[in-house]
């Protein structure tokens, strides 16, 4: 960190006056380079051959557009330019490397690649040599006027639609196909062929990160964020609409809808866990077990041929009962343990998660009573049917579009998320939600102000368990199987990571975290065996660099970044140390 700042000071001293000029020349070169072919051969993914920019070239071109800031004196421009140019540099270099690899050497690079490389390096140098910003970018507001509300509303709708577009593009980019020719492996683990095939997704991801970083350093993200707060109903409606129309954008591709539905389940569970962890501050390390209770309940009572109980309850009843039973488990576990300190709760929930997994693994008739079919789990859960004769397992024609059956489950997930989200938002704004936050911040102080901490903590815990149970019943129908392998400690850890990565205590955070954590392993197959390793390292890095998560609540961000705002020097929260 300090070294980077030092290098920057040197650069500023040497190139300072000419920084904007260097940068502009670089941007011009880069734009020209983007309209020239980068690859001298056909076959590289992402349209590198012709003159119309596509794939990585388009991303670099868009990042180059931030170059106009060299001529504008906006607050925060130096930091924004540094962000945009760094990501443009990384994307360009990666793409050139991939093309060189796929083409078998540097000879196959097109002229555009060289021009763009030269341009992006100058762009980067120019941005690094710019003098520091004097002021931090402020949160802007639109000027008062007749059109203000309309423009704000359109911007807010644009946020939702933009998120949909990013998601659709990201999902649509190819994953590793069957490699042709001999594969090379990096460090014995990473397949370079897969990496080349997936480079587009990687570059797209880098582009989104770079653009968001630059925009947020200009203060635009915060400004639009303030508008979404003001027009939160518009945002919710627009987001819901975007989510509902998503299947129509997929052109009958059932696979991507299945992924989207799985993300939905994962996200619903993450939002539920966010009530427990994000709002009430209770660390639940066995949350997946409550999810599993619901899933197994649905699996057993939905008429699967592999279930020992031959009973087919209607779906609505299954959801309600599954959620209720899961809630009862939460109550039984929470009631005696919630008066304990936080760390003990963590270990008890962890223990419960393990007990659940071991139990469903053993109830196969040999090590215990026959109920769950042991390690094989209960499979072949039949498709859902609604009373009107609507079968979830069939394709349906809607508005002239033939939708694969996965769309039905996808929409079911959307309803589930909507319910969980509503519960979360209504609770967070309520007296109960404020009490939870008070308990999270300082339990002793909360109790002193008359909050019944034990009862409220129990409420959060049971509610979280109930929502997880409901999500579990739905998920059993989506994946059509309930098996012990899906309910390991690693799953609980992943859910927790989704909440933390996204930002504790916020709904968009949990949704974003769940999407990213689910999609990355699906999309970055080239990592293969290293996925978990990368995951672990990322977890550590996030805690170090951005512990409040990607979409933090205001309060959390303050807690992590203001000196003295957090706990004392030895990491215990203030209230826990008073009587030592």
């Amino acid at each position: 960190m300090n070294q980077a700042a030092f290098v920057r000071t040197r650069l500023q001293a040497r190139f300072g006056p000419a920084a904007a000029l260097i940068g502009l020349v670089g941007v011009l070169l880069l734009v020209v380079g983007c309209f020239l072919p980068w690859a001298g051969f056909a076959g590289f993914p992402g349209k590198m051959l012709n003159t119309a920019p596509g794939g990585s070239r388009l991303y670099v071109l868009l990042l180059a557009l931030f170059g106009v800031l060299f001529r504008l004196d906006w607050p925060g421009r130096a930091r924004a330019l540094r962000g945009a140019s760094t990501f443009a540099l990384v994307i360009t270099m990666l793409t050139v490397l991939f093309i060189a690899y796929a083409g078998g050497g540097l000879v196959n690079l097109g002229t555009g690649a060289y021009v763009a490389l030269a341009g992006v390096v100058l762009y980067y140098l120019g941005a690094q040599s710019l003098p520091e910003d004097d002021v931090v970018a402020p949160v802007r507001e639109l000027p008062d006027g007749r059109w203000r509300v309309l423009i704000e509303t359109l911007l807010v709708v644009g946020v939702a639609v933009g998120a949909l577009i990013i998601f659709v593009i990201g999902l649509g980019l190819p994953t590793a196909s069957v490699a042709d020719g001999p594969d090379h492996r990096l460090g014995g683990a990473i397949s370079l062929n897969d990496l080349t095939n997936e480079s587009q997704f990687l570059c797209f991801l880098l582009f989104v990160c770079g653009a968001m970083l630059a925009l947020s350093r200009l203060g635009l993200v915060a400004s639009v964020g303030a508008m979404t707060k003001k027009h939160s109903r518009v945002l919710v409606a627009a987001a819901l609409m975007s989510a509902v129309v998503f299947p129509f954008t997929q052109g009958g591709n059932g696979y991507s809808l299945r992924i989207a539905a799985s993300i939905g389940v994962f996200a619903a569970a993450a939002v539920g866990l966010n009530i427990v962890v994000g709002l009430a501050g209770l660390l639940d390390l066995g949350y997946i077990a409550f999810f599993g209770v619901g899933a197994y309940f649905a699996a057993i009572f939905s008429g699967s041929v592999t279930s020992v109980i031959d009973m087919h309850l209607p779906f609505g009843l299954v959801i309600l009962l599954g959620a209720a039973i899961s809630g009862v488990f939460g109550l039984l576990l929470g009631a005696p343990t919630l008066r304990l300190r936080g760390d003990y709760l963590a270990i008890v929930t962890l223990g419960f998660g393990e007990i659940f997994r071991i139990t469903v693994n053993n109830l196969d008739g040999s090590a215990g009573p026959s109920l769950t079919n042991g390690p094989n789990g209960i499979s072949n859960i039949p498709d859902l049917t609604l009373p009107g004769g609507f079968n979830f397992g069939e394709n349906h024609l809607l508005f002239g579009v033939d939708l694969p059956f996965q769309a039905n489950y996808y929409w079911l997930e959307i309803i589930l998320i909507a319910v969980v989200m509503t519960a979360f938002l209504r609770l967070a704004e309520s007296r109960i939600g404020r009490a939870w936050v008070a308990i999270r911040e300082d339990e002793v102080a909360a109790a002193a102000t008359g909050i019944n901490t034990t009862r409220l903590k129990l409420l959060a815990f049971v509610l979280g368990a109930t929502l997880a149970g409901a999500a579990g019943t739905v998920n059993a129908h989506v994946v059509k199987v309930a098996a012990p392998d899906s309910f390991t400690f690693m799953e609980s850890a992943l859910l927790l990571a989704a909440v933390i990565l996204g930002g504790m205590g916020t709904v968009p955070g949990a949704l974003l975290g769940a999407t990213v954590l689910y999609l990355l392993p699906e999309k970055l197959r080239f990592l293969q065996d290293l996925r978990l390793l990368v995951f672990g390292i990322v977890l550590v890095l996030i805690m170090r660099l951005r512990p409040e998560g990607l979409v933090p609540s205001k309060r959390r961000a303050r807690e992590f970044h203001e000196p003295g705002g957090g706990a004392d020097a030895l990491s215990a929260p203030p209230g826990h140390r008073g009587t030592a």
Partner: protein
């Protein structure tokens, strides 16, 4: 009766491992209130460090040289990783809210497991560990009750380690400084105690004991596995909580208690809940019961005042 006594012995052996690992949890927790989830991985790395040492030494080295060298190798690996982990993962987070270091610990734990799995040669499944101490050599403890050589070694090493540690913490200057820091870090610092160094010391001591346990585990089962730290880690933490976390004698007591409970439940639990398939479940059931009726653990008086 012999069966019961035999299970008592088996439980003690199991408990010795838990106790050794639990000491690391309890010491770190006592000072920084951090559940170091990655401590189980330190235990695992001890086993792998010893294996590496074994493979590096020329064949034909006498066991009397080999065994101490392996122990030393395991300890060096574990201690190095623990110190690096403290320096680069946990120390920057001091002052952050409680959840942050816990999640970091989770990440470190996953990363260490995966590092071994991916980059240690042929470690994707269990690797054979040299059976230097013959497991078929049985010692009679009266009647039909026996204990085999590696198990006896485990217990002996564990007891020596525990006694040394508790003497060190009670008698030495550093040890008393640790106790002072655990009681009240701010006052301890005012008294001129270098808390940063003490925290490192706690990590080092814990890692050394965990490494010893890891080597003992390898000798006893004849294999080491990148997964072996996870469950042992969780159970050792359970043992620490059971004994009253932050309390050194408590960790030892908790370890032995947990080991005995696991073995006895496997043997005597009502059908069909007996047998190896249920033993882990029983360990956690006991934990929950103990926490409900004695939330501060068996010896946890001192910590109770702080809650």
């Amino acid at each position: 009766m012999d069966l019961f006594l035999q299970q008592l012995v088996n439980g003690t052996v199991l408990g010795a491992t838990y106790g050794l690992v639990a000491l690391g949890y309890t010491m770190v927790y006592g000072i920084v209130q951090l559940i170091n989830f990655a401590h189980g991985e330190i235990f695992m790395l001890g086993g792998f460090g010893a294996l590496t040492t074994f493979l590096a030494l020329p064949t034909g080295t006498p066991t009397a040289v080999l065994l101490p060298m392996m122990l030393l190798g395991g300890v060096i690996v574990s201690v190095t990783v623990a110190v690096l982990m403290e320096r680069f993962a946990y120390r920057p987070l001091r002052g952050a809210p409680r959840l942050a270091p816990l999640i970091t610990a989770l990440g470190v734990s996953i990363a260490l497991q995966e590092l071994v799995r991916n980059f240690y040669p042929e470690a994707k499944s269990a690797r054979n560990f040299p059976q230097l101490v013959d497991p078929n050599r049985q010692f009679s403890l009266g009647g039909d009750v026996t204990i085999n050589a590696p198990s006896l070694l485990t217990v002996v090493v564990a007891v020596v380690g525990m006694v040394t540690l508790s003497t060190y913490v009670r008698r030495s200057r550093t040890g008393r400084a640790m106790q002072a820091t655990a009681q009240d870090p701010d006052t301890a610092r005012l008294m001129g105690i270098n808390t940063d160094r003490l925290i490192v010391t706690a990590f080092v001591l814990g890692a050394a004991l965990a490494a010893v346990a890891g080597v003992a585990q390898g000798l006893r089962f004849g294999q080491v596995d990148f997964r072996m730290g996870f469950l042992t880690g969780i159970k050792a933490f359970t043992a620490a909580v059971l004994g009253g976390i932050g309390n050194i004698s408590g960790a030892v007591l908790g370890g032995f208690t947990l080991g005995l409970v696991e073995v006895m439940a496997t043997q005597y639990a009502p059908e069909p809940f007996a047998g190896g398939a249920w033993k882990d479940a029983w360990a956690f059931v006991v934990l929950i019961i103990v926490l409900v009726f004695r939330p501060t653990g068996l010896l946890g008086e001192r910590v109770a005042a702080r809650a």
